[in-house]
Structure formats: structure tokens, C-alpha cells
């Protein structure tokens, strides 16, 4: 292969990476993959790769002050290894994990077994009055809580005492609980540190009782309203929301919890 053809091939490989980064950014899908502070870096990376790829493509035939020899890698193999996994991943991705992967990321674990206590230890002590004052109340009397507040309360006895029996409403994605025999489900969001690969599920259990969950599709966003309890289940404390109402809702602008 001539050096010029190799440069063209490598430029195209780089441009394919650039196109992927820029496309995911322009389409807004990047929010499913990266935490906010990494998104501008990815955009800059996509633009930088475009400049690098285009410059080399347009000057592939020019003489430079000094050219290095050809890459020791087989150019076709290098091209394939850079482009094929990327292309297949773009074709396969649905911008979200399957329930099988989410179960591996803690969807069906108890918060007590997944680090809630350590995170909860960093929070200041509160009173019931402060809790009520700090949360908006719906017209039908439910206090609106962020899902992660309930998750973290599992690691904090004092918080549990305050929240136990409280009527609350919270939002998340709905997942059927395979061990729940149709009476249990999970409401969850992901906690992302840097990218989707390091995400963990932040779940609470929903006790649906006789309530049909059919209106909300599995994986769809739902608002659950009911009474919060902290029963011991399987030797661990579990936040369980006894659901009185479950309705579909629009996803928030930022679907995942972020480290900041």
C-alpha cells in the first residue's frame, strides 16, 4: 500500500470517530452516554478529530518536512479495528441498558447492600419539619421527593424514622421485579460518575398491591405516589413505597443522577 493511500485510510478512520462524536452531540444522544462535564470535552474532541482527519485527507499527497515510515500495523486491519466496533455499536445501541445489565448494576439489590449508608453518612441531620418545609406538597397531600433521597435514607436510621409512614411522590423509570409476582416493581434512576459504563442503578421497591402497572411500560418514566415504609426484607432494610397512584410522566432533562 502506498503511503498516500494509507494516510487516506487512516484519515477516514479518524473522521468516522469524529462523525460519531459530533453526531451524538448534535442529536442530543450524548446525554445518555456522558456526564455533563465530559460532554464539551467530547464535542471538542469530535471537532479536533475532524480537523486532524480532514487536514490529513486534504494533504495526503503533499510532501512534508519529514515523513515517518508507514505504520507497523497492517493498514486495513487498523482501519477495521477502529471502524468496525464503532459501527456495530452505533447500529446496536438503544441508548440504554437492558434489564439484564441493570440487574448487574444493582437494580434489584437493596440500597443497604450498595453503598447507601456511606453516602448517607455525609448528609447533615434533619428534623421532620425541615423535611416537610424543604419539599413541595402536591394538591392531594404527597411530598415530592427525589428518588436518591429515599435511596440514601436506607443508610440513615434517623432519616428512616422521619420518612417512615410519610406520604411521598417520586419519579423514576419503571422496571418489573422478577421476584415480585406482579405485585412488586422497581423505580430507579442511574447514578453516573463519568460515563454510562460506570453507572449504578439507584432503585427503590414499589409495592403495587392490586394496582395495575400496565399504564406505564417497562422502562418508561413514571411518577409513583404512596406511603413510604422501611421493612426488613431478606435481612436488610429496604425502602418500599406502597403505591396508591402510578402514572406515566415525561423524563427530566437530566435523566441520571450525577456526581455533582
Amino acid at each position: 500500500m502506498t503511503p498516500k493511500l494509507q494516510r487516506v485510510l487512516f484519515s477516514l478512520a479518524i473522521l468516522s470517530w469524529s462523525a460519531a462524536l459530533l453526531y451524538f452531540h448534535a442529536s442530543g444522544r450524548i446525554v445518555k452516554y456522558l456526564a455533563p462535564d465530559f460532554r464539551p470535552i467530547a464535542l471538542a474532541g469530535g471537532l479536533g478529530l475532524a480537523v486532524l482527519g480532514l487536514f490529513n485527507l486534504l494533504t495526503a499527497g503533499e510532501k512534508a518536512d519529514h515523513d515517518h515510515g508507514p505504520s507497523e500495523l497492517n493498514p486495513w486491519l487498523a482501519f477495521l479495528l477502529m471502524v468496525a466496533p464503532l459501527g456495530l455499536s452505533i447500529a446496536w445501541t438503544k441508548d440504554e441498558y437492558s434489564f439484564a445489565a441493570l440487574s448487574r448494576k444493582g437494580l434489584f439489590d437493596s440500597p443497604a447492600a450498595s453503598g447507601a449508608s456511606a453516602l448517607a453518612a455525609t448528609r447533615p441531620p434533619l428534623t421532620r419539619e425541615e423535611l416537610e418545609k424543604g419539599h413541595r406538597r402536591t394538591a392531594d397531600g404527597f411530598y415530592e421527593f427525589n428518588l436518591i433521597e429515599i435511596f440514601l435514607a436506607t443508610g440513615d436510621r434517623e432519616q428512616q424514622g422521619l420518612l417512615d409512614g410519610m406520604k411521598i411522590a417520586t419519579e423514576g423509570k419503571l422496571a418489573p421485579d422478577p421476584a415480585g409476582e406482579g405485585k412488586r416493581a422497581r423505580l430507579y434512576r442511574l447514578f453516573v460518575t463519568c460515563c454510562a459504563a460506570d453507572s449504578r442503578a439507584i432503585p427503590i421497591a414499589l409495592d403495587l398491591g392490586g394496582l395495575p402497572a400496565a399504564e406505564v411500560a417497562a422502562g418508561g418514566w413514571a411518577k409513583a405516589s404512596g406511603t413510604l415504609t422501611f421493612p426488613h426484607e431478606g435481612g436488610l432494610i429496604q425502602p418500599v413505597l406502597k403505591v396508591e397512584r402510578l402514572e406515566p410522566t415525561a423524563p427530566p432533562a437530566e435523566e441520571s443522577f450525577l456526581r455533582n
Partner: protein, 317 residues
């Protein structure tokens, strides 16, 4: 079908996160290739070889780069005449001993003894890098670098850049005009080659990481069982760090949530990961011999594991 979807999400997210840092590294390496006179780095370091190692392991404080970006930079600097021992010391230390990593570790461990964890991480990272560099100082270069790295060395610090980095028979010396345009084309061309050389290994490494990452849970349950074992816990977290291949600027946020594990085990995770993981195993192959990478992996595993256990013992005595 689920497995494809999970692999794709993990693969793309890690690729999107890491690719800009590789680009940064290769652009820096391309500029160094064309504009940095051969031997300039060597002249910046003390003449004494041990002192040069000690200083090179601190250069991350001035030139902060993560582990993805450091490999192409080191490829170029070693070709430019930076002693291999100093290059390797910088490569291992820079992802840890730099202000960005220090700040992220502090932030991640706020409320959990941030000074102890940040200080411990920087100190152990520096110590290990210096130790490896001092060992490399005594080894023949041919045992460390892969043949292609030896084929394009800087013959002497006094040579001009063109003469020093092009004894590969390209036949271009004296033919092209020594213009700024020509230099720019050369810099971009060098960056292109470096990006592909590193990007190929990165792509393979990310694919493997994505496979491990989406199937991590059985391992996570096993991890819980070894969390309280004095030797098993750091060994398991070093294994986890290897598989997860997290960026050193952000891995502390994962470590901080591993609340079942001791400080020593978390320290092992935070020091071992930036020095060796799945993607780095592939990236290192663009610079180092496979046999040396194996020896380095074993040495890092034993040394970091042992020192982390001693640190934990000292904390709890």
C-alpha cells in the same frame, strides 16, 4: 440482543470519554515530534541519572495528562531522546501525580478523610513510579522497548530534529522545503500516525472493557465476599481496577463508594488502575515489549498490594 445493546452502550460511552484525551496526547506528541529539538527533554532533567528519575516522576505536576494521553506523548519523547527510565517513570506517575487527579480524589473522598486518601495516593504513586524507573535504569533498553521504538531513536541530543527522528529510510531529508507549512503537515501527519497506532489498541481495549463491564455483577458479589480479607481485598480491587479501566481523573468517585473495603484496598485500586488496566495493556504494546509488560504487571501487582496492606496496617495499629 440484550447483550449487543449493553455492549454498545458501554463501548460508546468509554470511547467518547477517552477519545478526546488520546487526541490531546497525539496532538502534543505530533507537535513535540516536529518542533521539540532532539534531546531537549534530556537537557531539562538533572545530569545525575537517579536525580533525573526523581524529577521526571514529578513532571505530571507541570504537564498533567491522564493515562490515555500519556502513552503517545511518551512514545514521542523517548524517540526524541528522553531516557527510557525517565519516560517510564513519567508514564506511570503522571496520571496520578498531577493536580487534576489530586483534586478529584479530594472531592470524591470529602467527608471520608480526603487528606489521607489523596496524600496516600500521590505518595504511593510517586514511590512506585520511581522504583520502576530505577529498575529500568539498570536494564538494557532492548529489554524494555519494542523493536519499532528502537528503530527510530534520536542518535544524539545534538542532532537536528529532522536528522534525529528520520533514520528510518524515508528518504525525505533535504527534499522538502523547511517551511512552516511543511512542518505543520509533518506535525499533523505524525499526530495521525500516533492516533491510529494508539487508537487501534484503545478500540480493542475498550471493546474488552465493555464486555467485562456489562457482565461485572457476578464479580461484584464475589468482591463482597473478599472485602474484609486483608490480602484478598486489595488484590480484588486491583483486579477490578484492571477490568474497569477507569480514567485516573474520575476513578476516585468509584473508589469512594466501595464502602465495604478498607482504606488500603481502596488505595491499591487508586494506584494500580492508572498504571495498568485492560486498555493500557493494549496501549503499552505500542511502546513496550510484551515480556516487559508482563513483568511490569506482576511487579506492580505485588508492590502496590504489599504497600497498601502495610499502609492499612499502619493506619489501624
Amino acid at each position: 440482543m440484550d447483550a449487543r445493546q449493553d455492549f454498545a452502550l458501554a463501548f460508546l460511552s468509554i470511547l467518547f470519554e477517552g477519545a478526546p484525551f488520546i487526541l490531546l496526547g497525539t496532538l502534543v506528541s505530533g507537535l513535540l515530534d516536529v518542533y521539540l529539538p532532539s534531546g531537549a527533554m534530556e537537557r531539562l532533567l538533572p545530569k545525575n541519572r537517579v536525580a533525573a528519575v526523581l524529577v521526571s516522576c514529578l513532571l505530571g505536576a507541570i504537564f498533567p495528562v491522564c493515562e490515555c494521553a500519556v502513552v503517545p506523548v511518551i512514545r514521542r519523547l523517548v524517540k526524541k531522546g528522553l531516557p527510557v527510565s525517565c519516560g517510564l517513570g513519567y508514564m506511570l506517575a503522571a496520571p496520578i501525580v498531577n493536580p487534576i487527579t489530586a483534586l478529584s480524589t479530594w472531592k470524591a473522598f470529602e467527608g471520608q478523610s480526603p487528606l489521607m486518601m489523596t496524600g496516600g495516593r500521590l505518595a504511593l504513586g510517586y514511590l512506585i513510579a520511581v522504583a520502576v524507573a530505577l529498575i529500568v535504569l539498570r536494564l538494557p533498553v532492548g529489554m524494555v522497548l519494542r523493536p519499532s521504538m528502537l528503530a527510530e531513536p534520536a542518535s544524539s541530543p545534538d542532532e537536528s530534529p529532522d536528522e534525529s527522528c528520520c533514520d528510518h529510510g524515508c528518504g525525505c531529508h533535504g527534499e522538502a522545503p523547511d517551511s512552516s507549512d511543511g512542518k505543520l503537515v509533518a506535525a499533523f501527519r505524525s499526530a495521525l500516525k500516533d492516533f491510529v497506532d494508539v487508537g487501534v489498541w484503545f478500540s480493542v481495549g475498550v471493546a474488552l472493557t465493555a464486555l467485562f463491564n456489562t457482565g461485572i455483577a457476578p464479580g461484584a458479589r464475589w468482591l463482597d465476599q473478599v472485602a474484609q480479607h486483608p490480602a484478598g481485598a486489595p488484590a480484588a480491587l486491583m483486579g477490578l481496577a484492571y477490568v474497569l479501566s477507569l480514567c485516573s481523573t474520575s476513578d476516585a468517585f468509584i473508589a469512594a463508594t466501595l464502602d465495604r473495603f478498607s482504606w488500603g484496598a481502596k488505595l491499591a485500586f487508586l494506584v494500580f488502575g492508572p498504571m495498568l488496566d485492560v486498555k493500557l495493556t493494549f496501549l503499552y504494546q505500542s511502546v513496550l515489549r510484551k515480556r516487559f509488560i508482563l513483568a511490569l504487571a506482576a511487579g506492580l501487582f505485588v508492590a502496590i498490594g504489599t504497600l497498601s496492606m502495610l499502609w492499612q496496617f499502619w493506619l489501624t495499629r
